[in-house]
Structure formats: C-alpha cells, structure tokens
Symmetry: C5
Subunit: 264 residues, 5 copies
C-alpha cells in the first residue's frame, strides 16, 4: 500500500501556500521582465523573507549563489530560454540530490503538455518525482499546455487537463494557469483531487484588483494558493502586495476589503 505521507507540509500553512517564483530570467530573458531592482536576486530573496512567503522558487544557479535558508526553497530542476522555436522542451539541469544539497525542501519541474516532446518530460519527471519522495521532498509540477497542436492554455478544459495530469503523474502540488473564472477553475481543482493546486501568477496585470480577483477566484474554487512572480516583484511595493495576497489566501478576506485596507 502506498506511502500516504503529505510531502507538502514545509510549504503550507493550513493547507494554503504563497510561493514567490523567480525563474523568469532564464525563461523569458532579463530584459523582458526585469528592472534594475528586481534583476538582483538578493532583492527577491529579501522580498521572500520579509514578505512572509511560504516558499521561493529558484533555478539552480540563483539558489546556489543567493539562497540564505530562510524561506523554504523550491528548486526548479529544468529550464529553457524563450529563444528556440518549434515544439517546447525543457530538460533537467539539476539533480534532486544537488537540490537537496542546496537546501531545497521541494523540487519543481515544468511539463509542456501537448508538446511534441511531452514524452521526454513525462519520463524525466517520473524519475524526479520518485527520488524527491525517497528523499522526503515535495514534488511540484508546473503543467503548461503548449505546442503547435494545443488549444489556448487558459481554456477551461485545457486548464483542467493540466491539473489532472499533475495528479496522475504524481505531483504533490500542481501549478496551472487561471481559467478566467472561479466556476471553471473549480473543475480544474476537482480534477487535481488530492494534488494541491496553485495558480500561476502570469504577467503583471493593469490593476491590483484584477490580479487579486484571480487569486480570490482560485481560493474560492478550492485552490491552495498562488505562485507569483511579476505581480509581486514588478509591483512598486512588493511587500504591500504580499500582504494583500496573504489576506486573501490565508484569511479568506474579500478583494474589496483587502484593497480598501492597502491604499496606494
């Protein structure tokens, strides 16, 4: 019979989580997403620590040179640049063992569901998931439907597919895009079953309310929380945004009340 341990413990508070994601330098390029402040990983590590984030997701090199052991670390084991065209494929550049040595409590991996190379990532992830659990580490799966044959990745059935793939492939936490409304997202959460669902923050929204409403929709749908990057560290006041997010995620406060409490 299966080991029924809950590997998500170190990243969760009462079943909820707020993850600061910072792998965009490799995934999108520094010029696309960074300014002179947030280009510095030290600023991000500090934001994670002071903002009370549940976890911090970093690539290998950033973790090795900047991580200070305070906020729980999710080490992203694979990555790619945005430059190659064709079917997306992101390969493992960090072993689970090395991630543990760098202090990680969890490992992260991206599968581009529907890519012509889906099979490569499914296979690579499979071995990662097993080793992570053998070392007592949480296995977090970014599931991004992407490829020439894939419908828009925020389409509700595609979002739910990503969530379900996360569950069946053994993710403890599955990070997926928001489907646009709480009702359709709740189907994705149901499809993920006992795998915890976190919404992927995505690009900076025009207003704080717009973003916070998505997060609230995620929580209402039964999601466990959020993995956010740009909407925090591109925000003029990252710690205030962090406070707003924590109120919605951990205290179930409505957006209107949260926004009123944090005027800008």
């Amino acid at each position: 019979m299966a080991d029924k341990r809950d590997f998500t413990g170190p990243l969760m508070k009462n079943g909820r989580t707020l993850i600061l994601a910072y792998d965009q330098g490799l995934e999108h390029g520094p010029t696309a997403d960074f300014d002179t402040r947030n280009v510095d990983p030290a600023f991000i590590v500090d934001t994670a620590n002071r903002g009370g984030f549940s976890a911090l997701a970093l690539q290998k090199g950033t973790a090795e040179k900047y991580y200070d052991g305070r906020t729980p670390l999710i080490l992203k084991l694979n990555g790619k640049s945005t430059l190659p065209k064709g079917e997306p494929l992101s390969r493992q550049h960090c072993s689970v063992k090395y991630a543990e040595k760098l202090g990680a409590k969890a490992v992260g991996y991206t599968i581009f569901l529907g890519s012509g190379y889906e099979h490569e990532m499914v296979k690579e992830w499979g071995a990662i998931q097993e080793e992570a659990h053998e070392r007592g580490m949480c296995a977090v799966l970014w599931v991004y439907p992407r490829g020439a044959a894939v419908p828009p990745d925020t389409q509700p059935d595609i979002v739910a597919y990503a969530a379900r793939a996360g569950l069946e492939l053994g993710a403890d936490i599955v990070k997926i895009k928001y489907s646009g409304d709480s009702a359709s997202f709740s189907w994705a959460v149901k499809a993920a079953g006992k795998a915890k669902v976190v919404m992927s923050g995505g690009p900076k929204t025009a207003t704080d309310e717009a973003f916070l409403s998505q997060v609230q929709g995620t929580i209402e749908a039964g999601g466990a929380g959020l993995a956010v990057g740009r909407n925090v560290w591109q925000h003029p006041e990252p710690l205030k945004m962090a406070d707003s997010l924590k109120k919605i995620i951990f205290e179930n406060k409505p957006v209107a009340q949260v926004v009123a409490a944090t005027p800008r």
Copy 2:
C-alpha cells in the same frame, strides 16, 4: 529452461478477471470522460472495492494518493495526454520498484503497435517485463495499434496482431480492443496463446446490452475477461453493472439472463 510461474494469480479467479481501469484522466483529459462523481479517484477506489473487481489499474499519482490496498493494483507505468499530434509515444514515468512500493501486484504498459516510435516502447517494455518478473509481479501489456500507417484498430487481423505481439513480447495479460464478433476475436485469443486476453472496454455504449454482448463474445472466444472504465464508472449504477459483468465473466451467464436479472 524458463521459469514457468504464472504471474497472473493475484489478478485472476479461475482464470478469469474483471479489471477496473482508471487512467483516462491523463489519457483523454478529465473533461472528456468525467463528471463530478467519477472525477474523484476515491469514488473509483470505492467502486473497485465494493464491486468486487479483480484488479484496479491506476497511474502513479492516483495510486500514491488514493490506493488503499484492498483491490489488487495494476500500476500503469507509462502515459501520455491526447494533446500531441504525430506518431504516438508514451514513455515510462514510474519504475517497477516504485510501483511495488505503492503496493502494486502488477505493472501495466501501453505499446502503440505500428507507431513510428514502436521501437522505443518495445525497448522500454522489455526492461519493465523482466524487472516485474524478477520481483514476482505480473506484466500487463496494453497493445493499441495506432499511427499514420496503421489500419483500423478493430479490424480482426489487427486485433489478432496486437494479441500476438503481447504474447511474443512477454506479456502475462494482454489488453486489446474487441474485434466486433466472437468468431474473429477467438482468432486473436488463439494468437495470444498462454497470454491471457482481456478486452478493452472502450467508450460507453448506448445500451448495457450492447456492451455486455461484447463481453460475452470475449468470454465465448476464450478471453480471460475485461478491463473496463467508462462503461462502469459512467454508468448510473456502477455496482449493478459490475454485477452483470461478473455474472458473464465468472459464471458464464448469457446476456439475456443477466439483463433480465438486473432491470433498470
């Protein structure tokens, strides 16, 4: 001389078997096949237990989070989504060792016979089959002829080919599609020799009789039973359907008698 152990024991009763299959969340997507009831793996595990199924086939993550050790487990070691186009390829995401650790008595693997990647799956399966037998586990092979160059997969000679490939590649149980009638299916069963043949349930049929007749045809043809998903867990009364199936498979009852006994 070969080890003549029969590895199918834990999944069989008097040489017959009724397997509940539940990997469709990954293979087809949750929206295609599930409703709010059967999207929940707990419901499926419960159905398997209460319905007296011979075995339950799950992907790694579903087993790890839901399996309770009651119905014998077949762990599906490979899987793919329905999103990528091109020649089908499904790679291993779970080791035999991990499957055993999750409590499995058997491992399952899909080969898309005729795919341009057939060779990759033949090779991967080969190592799985050996390790399974070394651990005393049953090796179940889903053989699905599929690919641009492959004739319709319910064509009798193609069904028989799938069955024979299962035998020659070392499957203890081979799961194949129904060829449409008992006479042609009996050729597939003969081709499989001492490998046990189970019919693949396929999509929900319009009437119970239609499905039960296929199962009866399988049994009459010498098949060992059925691996069924949608025709049970999409059925309004899964346990009644399970009862009907058990009467046909284990008691050799004719469809007419079974249907009369279970009015809806």
Copy 3:
C-alpha cells in the same frame, strides 16, 4: 590475443545446423503466416523436438511460456511489427541475462543493414555480442539489408555484404537470404569467413523441390545450414520436411534422392 572459443558448439553437429525459426507472429502478424495449427507455439516446440532440429529460435514471451528445454534455444532479443513504415528499426526487448535465465544457449538479433537506423542496431548488437560471449553463449546475427536506399536484398553483392557484416561485427552465426544460386552464394559464404552462414528460409515455396534446391545450393556453397520457419510449419507434414532437410544438410544427399525417398 583473442579468445578462440567456438561458441556455436551447442547448435551444431559436424559443423552443420538446422534451426527452426518462429518469430513470425511478431514480425509479420499471426494472420499473415499462421493457421490454427501453427499459431500454437506448443505445436512448434513439439515439431522442433520431434523433428530433431539443432535449435529453436523464439521471442522472449513465447520462450518464457512454452520452451521445455529440449531443443537448444536461440532467444531473439529484438523484434518489431510490420506495421510501422519508414526506415526499419528493431530494438532490444530482452537482455542477454534474461535470455540465459530462460534457458537459451544462444541469442539472436536482427540488423537491418542500410536502414537509416543501422547505427542504432550496430551499437545495440555490439553490447549484446560481448555479453553473450562473456556468458559463453553463441551470438547469432540476422542481417537483412533493408531501407529506402538499399538494392534488392537477394542481389548477390548485397547478400555477400550481409554475410561480411556478420563476420566483422562479431557474429558466430550469420543468417542471410539466399542469393538465388550456389555459385553466387559461395561468395557470400567466403565473405563470412569463420562466421557460420545459415540461409534464411523465407516464404513457403510452391514445391518442396524448389525449397530443397535452395538448401542444397547453400550447403554446396559451403553454408552451415538453414534457419527455416514457414517451409516447415506451413508444410502439411513438417516432420517429413524436416527429414528431407536433415538428409541434405547433415548427409549431403542430393535433392532428387531426398524427394524420391519422401513421396507425398
């Protein structure tokens, strides 16, 4: 200096051999080659035993479920179906160690010389050959020139190429197609040097004489014998055909005399 052991011993009698081949179920499909009698591996094993064959070539699954340890076993380590189109590639599905465990005295492997994937098979075979010899097992190589760029595979220079590739790649026995006449086949035998050459039986011929003449041509050319399937087990009287073959191969009898002795 090299180990000069002769690994072919268990398969040879006075330097000659008659091998019963039975991997056509996977290679061609059961409907193409089998009837209700020869679809049954037990019939083939019995034919090998009673017909006094030097060896029996089986795929892993057939060996595991039917082999009885009487006729020496050649385990075919790779295989493919006839369904995929494009450049042919057949990958290893059985380890040398597992073959030994199944009771094999020899391992068999097919290389499609000239295929766009020739290199994959050359590499895979290389490791197999070494492990076989380390375990004291004979390494038998099926060399079939096949691929879009390959001339007809019974053309004498192509047959000789296959034979030579077998020698240089380390085969103890190389199985090749007949080149049509004894004179041209003797060049292939010369090219194979100390590697023993066996003719590949091919499809059932219209008359026994036609087939037996090819075998006689092989022996006259210096070949070691024959690996035959369909011309024996599709024959109405397999044991009589076996007797005819043994007279030609082991007693150097001419076809006319053999046919006269076994009227039908």
Copy 4:
C-alpha cells in the same frame, strides 16, 4: 542552505581575470585562424605563462599533450567543428574527472542558447556543473546565442540574456560577447549577478585601440575581465598586448594611457 564557496578563486586576482583561449583549432579550423607560429600549442602555453595570464582554456587533446601546469587550466569539455550546418550542437567529449586528472582547475562548456538543441546542452551542462563543484572546480560557461531563430548575438538584450542564463544555470564565470558599448554591457553584467562576466575576445580587430576599448568598456560595466585568443596570439607582439590588457583589467588604466605606453 547552499554551499557559498567561491569556486573562481584560482582564476582570479582581486576579482579580475585575463584568460587565454585556444580552442579555435577545433571550433574554426586551423587554416581560418592560425599561422605557422600560433598553430603550435607550445607557443600558446608559453605565451600564457610568460604573459601572466590568469588562466588558459584548452581542449582535451591540446591540454593532454602540451599543458605544463603553470598557468591555471580551464578544460573545455565540449566542442564542434564549424563544418556541420543546421542548428548548432556541441557535445561533451571530456569528463570532469578526466579534466581534473589533466590538471584543470576549471571546466568550460559552451551552450548555444536558442539552438534547436539548447535542451541537450542545458542537460549536459547541468551534470557537469554539479560534478565540477563536487570536485571543488570552477564551472565556466560560454553562452553563445545561435540558431535560425536567434536575433544577432551582440544585440544588447541578447547579450544580457546570455549573461542571465549563465547565472541561473549555475555558472561561476560566464563568457559572453561584447554588446558594443559599456552602458548596454553593464545591464548584462547586472543580469549575471554574482556570476563573473568575461567578455569574449572575438576576431582580431583592425587596431589595438579598438579592442582595448571594448575591454575597458567591459571593465567599466563591472565585468571581471576577458577571455581572449586571436587578439593576442594573432598579434605581432602577444606579450605587449597581454601587458596592455593587464593594465586595463587589473590596474583600471584608460586605453589612451595604455596605448601611449606601448608604442608599436
């Protein structure tokens, strides 16, 4: 928590470095870059030693046959010729262990960012980086954006992307092309964070001033130094050029002053 060791120590003096690169024989071919003097690796090793270079970058064979242990060695672990067309891919031909045995203090590896094979190099590098650090060796990454889909590789955002990829993938030192001016290059240096940035020397410039100005721009931008080949060993007086470079890199002297001091 991560190991915060600084692996760059043996290659650095006060945080600056001047590396002599000599892998052009394989990368470009000898006729493209060499004359009868610099074709001889002994001349290069001597130049590195007498010129006071911080490190010398060699391919495996050149190191094995010529390296004398005086200037710290960076062993280039992968390489390719310029002959194949299509998406660039350079694979590992030297293990980290062998590099260490050859006396290397650091290993070097090239990733063609944006290549259709980027993923292969990312994966291969990942394992190299870990083993290097486990052996206490510095991991130097050449990041060259190249491939059909990649913008010009001296475009500032592309240069900065290369730098950032180096940081996130775990490079201790990242070697990138110069972006044309100090202002834009300082963004690349910022993007690289705690990974040291060295400018890639590139082809021989028309005048010494042109090249020295680039180096000065790199230093002003916060770069750690230079990896130079042709602009030194194609120079009529390599040691004078080395002196000029050291003045700029280690003494922060302006180009005008350096050139005045070394008339030709």
Copy 5:
C-alpha cells in the same frame, strides 16, 4: 598536470609506423574491394605478420576469429556499411575493455567531421579516448570530413582541419586523407602538433609509383607513416609493396630508388 605518457609506443619504430588496415569488408562491402585471396582475413593477418607491419587494424569480429597476437592490433570500435544514405554516422560496437581482451594495443574510431551527426561521434569518442588511456592503450582517430555541407575531403584546408580536430580531441594518432602534395600536407601535420599523422591509403592507384609518391610526400611533410589497405592487399605482390613502403617510411629512401630496387 597532464599525464605525458606516449601511448603510441607499441605501434611505432623511431616515430614511424606502417599500419595494415582491413575494415573495408564492413565499410565498403566485400564485392567492392575483395577478391578470393584478400577476402580471407587469414591472408591479411599473414601479410601483416610476414610483411613486418607495425600494426593491423581490424573490426571486432575479424579480430576475434583470426587475430594471432603477433602484429600489434588496433581494434576499430565503430563501423557502418556504405548502404545508408543521409548524413554519415558510425556508432561504437565494441567496448574498449573487449578490445583489450581481444589483445588490442590500440583502439580506432572514425569521426565524420562535418556530418549532421558529428556531435554523436565526438561524444562517443570522448569516452573511448579516456578509457583507452586509463588502460594504457593508444587512441587512434580516423577523421574523415564527410556530409552534405562538407567541401571535398582532400582540399588542403579540410585535410588540415581533420588533423587539428584529431589533436584537440585527444587522438594519439590521427589518420587523414592525403591533400595531394607534400607542401600542403605539411600544414596538416603542423596542425596536428604532437598527434602523429598517418596518411590514409585510399583506393588502389594505377601505378605503384603514384602511391609511393604520396607516401614519400607524407613523410617529407613530417607525417609518421601510413595506414594502408587496398594498395597492399589488392597488390599482386603485397610483401614487395610492404618492402617498398618500409624503405620510404623507415629508411627515408626516395621513390625512384625504391622502385628501381623492386622491379615487377
């Protein structure tokens, strides 16, 4: 610091070598290159022994069945037939360990520089080279520029590129084609540095003088000698040709004098 052992010792006499190459059966096919005399490996082994050759290069199978331990053996670890079209790729079919067991003092490997699969061979060779040196064996690299994008392979700059690639990739001896004249070949020899250069014999020339002049040109250019097949074993008097070659290679005799001394 690197191990400065000279691994070429067993193949050299005063820094010169004369290698008998015999892998053409696999590389070109027996009908293309052989007659009834030289198709027999025993004849070749005898020729090597009696002709006083410095070394004999064989594929695995030929060595295993014919090698007698007298002339030092170079085991060719990879090989391909001439049948597949498309970018050339030759994969390893013999391990270094097995080569040593067969009595080899050296291993040989072919890289098709410029092939679309160059990277596969560079990688495979890299591991071979290291293991060979760890076992104290010489590593001989055949560098043949070949592929759709490659200029004619006897063009001087391409020949020099092959030589240099051999050096940088760690070959102890590099076998390259002759560039047509001694002057241009001396550039290739220079490019190879401390790697010994042997000329590849190529097809039988119309006259002995034509071939011997190439060899003399190689020696004058600083080359270490010759790896010859067809110009010896297709010669009516192989031992006389061997004598002529030895006079040129080991005694620096001019062609005119050598030819006068061996009238035909």
